[in-house]
């Protein structure tokens, strides 16, 4: 099973939810459960429907394995909460297909909270 290495960064205060750490390095399998179940063991993947690791799965992985507090401030209804911007290699994720973007090795994903006020 091949893996993907990712650089994750949080900004705009979002790092407070992730141990106050702005930068994280992650390794994900290239194939993941289709239903975004982050608890499925690697050797059990052959028994379930899978998909290429995408941004949607990454969000669930971050919520289930890195988030320390208040998951509702990060995700809502299966995607990032309104007010959180996502950049994929310094580009707006809207240009890359949002949650359907298939992750590539060494991608840099940034999550920025815009809820700072005026």
């Amino acid at each position: 099973m091949s893996t993907i290495s990712l650089q994750i960064e949080f900004g705009g205060g979002l790092e407070l939810l992730f141990s106050n750490q702005k930068r994280h390095t992650l390794t994900l399998p290239s194939e993941v459960p289709f239903d975004n179940n982050t608890k499925t063991q690697l050797d059990a993947l052959s028994a379930v429907k899978t998909k290429s690791a995408d941004l949607e799965y990454l969000m669930f992985h971050l919520r289930d394995h890195l988030l320390r507090d208040r998951p509702e401030l990060f995700m809502e209804a299966g995607t990032v909460r309104p007010g959180i911007l996502v950049l994929i290699n310094n580009t707006d994720w809207e240009l890359e297909g949002e949650g359907e973007y298939v992750l590539q090795d060494n991608d840099e994903i940034v999550f920025i909270s815009t809820l700072h006020g005026g």
Binding site: G13, G83, T114, G117, G118
Partner: protein
């Protein structure tokens, strides 16, 4: 099957508003048509190189028509303000981005690259000669009003002084609104500490001469705890900050006050304000000219009002701006503003054009009648007939004073604050208490900010009830005449007696 009415989304699937499809058009920048886009702004794609010019043009389009004393329609006239500039800074995203962009566009010296590349934009470019004589940054700290809240003044001062070395930093505190020494410093007219009685819709005022005096922090906390709803707390704090900034702008001889309200924040504020009865000053939410007297005219401008929060965020990220952020005070989420914010931000993500539609629609609104002065609380236009309207549409308590505050020969003559309040401020103070706070509910007494302790002369007891408007004249001072007993008189003049 097409739904013919606004059905219930929980049982009728076709009643749900369908989300617009994800961006599936060209990824090429709409401006240069060469580079690959990096950001989508309301369905338009921009590259990282064209993005700064986009923000630059939006800000200049909003700000520059209002810089010169006379509005300039010709673009050939150079920019020259009649006074100084005050930039409000809250620590939030909008004001951080505003300060950075204003500094780049109007205050930064030309770099060698720009000079060699002949990019100076002609002799009338704003960076070729100073538009304002001096520029100050003003920050208002609100931590004193809420025990346990972190005071960020020193942190913000350090950050701003390091980044903007040539700009003066002015630090205010929310309790300055109840501090007579601050009021003297900014040239305010003589006033007395006064409280308003919230148990009666007339909001009778009493002076605090005979009660133990509280310091400004205590008066601020008393003010916050007396407000009837969490919505009122947010609204009141916002108003206090705005008026503190106005008087600071006046004291610094500023002709312009800039606020970092983005398009998103503006839309939230418009909807929230209108829902609380602020429709008469919808225009002022985007732009206002504050004229408290014949010698003062300060233009309050929001240069980012066409820039969404998303654009501000991307600018801050791509330029490495440090956003300190604003701490939320307790239970702020329960107010109308916070609920509106959640709604608008959700709307913006799925239907980005909606937010600009709100601001554009509101900019087309204008009140049918003219203002009869300024509201004594928020210093915004005061509409006529507020109390007459309220008496027709709602059940209200009668205007009789409570027993504790009934006038007599030796007690203060009652003055009603109500005739001098706009609809929104009066509603804010007289909403039914929904906080469920402990404390003495019998007579919640609201300390008044120093500028609201001033009222026009000639107030009659009939004005508030009949719906008549007082004869307001912005130049008139308030002096409350009343008979006082010998003991109270001795307290006032005791220091001058030779004994």
């Amino acid at each position: 099957m097409v739904s013919e009415s606004c059905g219930n989304p929980s049982v009728e699937s076709e009643a749900i508003m369908t989300r617009r499809p994800k961006h599936d058009k060209s990824k090429i920048c709409i401006k240069c048509k060469v580079n690959t886009g990096a950001i989508v702004i309301r369905h338009a794609v921009y590259c990282k190189e064209c993005f700064p010019a986009l923000l630059n043009s939006k800000i200049r389009r909003i700000l520059e028509p209002h810089i010169n004393a006379k509005p300039e329609l010709s673009r050939k006239k150079s920019l020259k303000a009649s006074g100084n500039l005050l930039v409000a800074f809250s620590g939030g995203l909008g004001s951080t981005v505003l300060l950075d962009l204003i500094s780049r566009i109007y205050l930064s010296p030309w770099t060698e690259e720009e000079v060699e590349g002949n990019l100076k934009g002609g002799k009338d470019h704003p960076r070729n000669q100073p538009v304002w004589k001096s520029v100050s940054i003003c920050y208002v700290e609100i931590a004193s009003g809420f025990p346990g809240m972190t005071d960020k003044t020193m942190k913000i001062q350090q950050i701003l002084r390091e980044k903007y070395k040539t700009l003066e930093f002015i630090s205010l505190r929310l309790e300055d609104a109840f501090d007579m020494s601050w009021w003297d410093k900014v040239g305010g007219k003589a006033a007395l500490d006064a409280n308003a009685d919230l148990t009666n819709d007339e909001l009778f005022i009493s002076s605090t001469l005979t009660t133990p005096t509280l310091n400004p922090v205590e008066r601020l906390r008393s003010y916050i705890s007396a407000l009837p709803t969490h919505t009122a707390i947010e609204n009141a704090i916002h108003t206090l900050i705005r008026v503190l900034l106005l008087y600071t702008a006046r004291s610094t001889q500023s002709s312009h006050l800039l606020l970092g309200t983005s398009l998103t924040s503006l839309s939230i504020r418009l909807i929230s304000s209108i829902s609380q009865g602020g429709g008469f000053s919808v225009w002022e939410e985007a732009y206002e000219e504050w004229k408290p007297d014949s010698t003062t005219a300060i233009r309050v401008i929001r240069p980012l009002q066409e820039v969404t929060t998303k654009e501000c965020s991307m600018w801050a990220w791509w330029n490495g701006l440090l956003v300190v952020g604003q701490e939320k005070y307790p239970r702020a989420k329960e107010g109308i503003y916070a609920l509106t914010k959640d709604f608008i931000i959700g709307l913006e993500r799925d239907y980005p054009s909606t937010v600009s539609t709100i601001a554009r629609t509101c900019s087309k609104l204008a009140p049918k009648v003219e203002a009869v002065g300024l509201c004594i609380f928020c210093e915004r236009p005061l509409q006529p007939g507020v109390q007459l309207w309220k008496s027709r549409i709602s059940l209200r308590e009668t205007g009789q004073p409570t027993t504790a505050s009934r006038s007599s020969d030796s007690s203060p003559v009652l003055q009603s604050l109500t005739p001098y309040l706009c609809y929104s401020c009066h509603t804010m103070l007289t909403s039914r208490n929904s906080k469920g706070v402990s404390g003495n509910p019998a007579s919640p007494s609201l300390p008044l900010p120093v500028w609201a302790s001033i009222h026009p002369r000639g107030l009659s007891d009939d004005v508030g009830r009949s719906g008549m408007q007082p004869d307001l004249n912005g130049n008139e001072e308030l002096w409350l005449r009343r008979k006082i007993d010998p003991d109270e008189m001795k307290v006032v003049i005791g220091d001058f007696l030779l004994e």
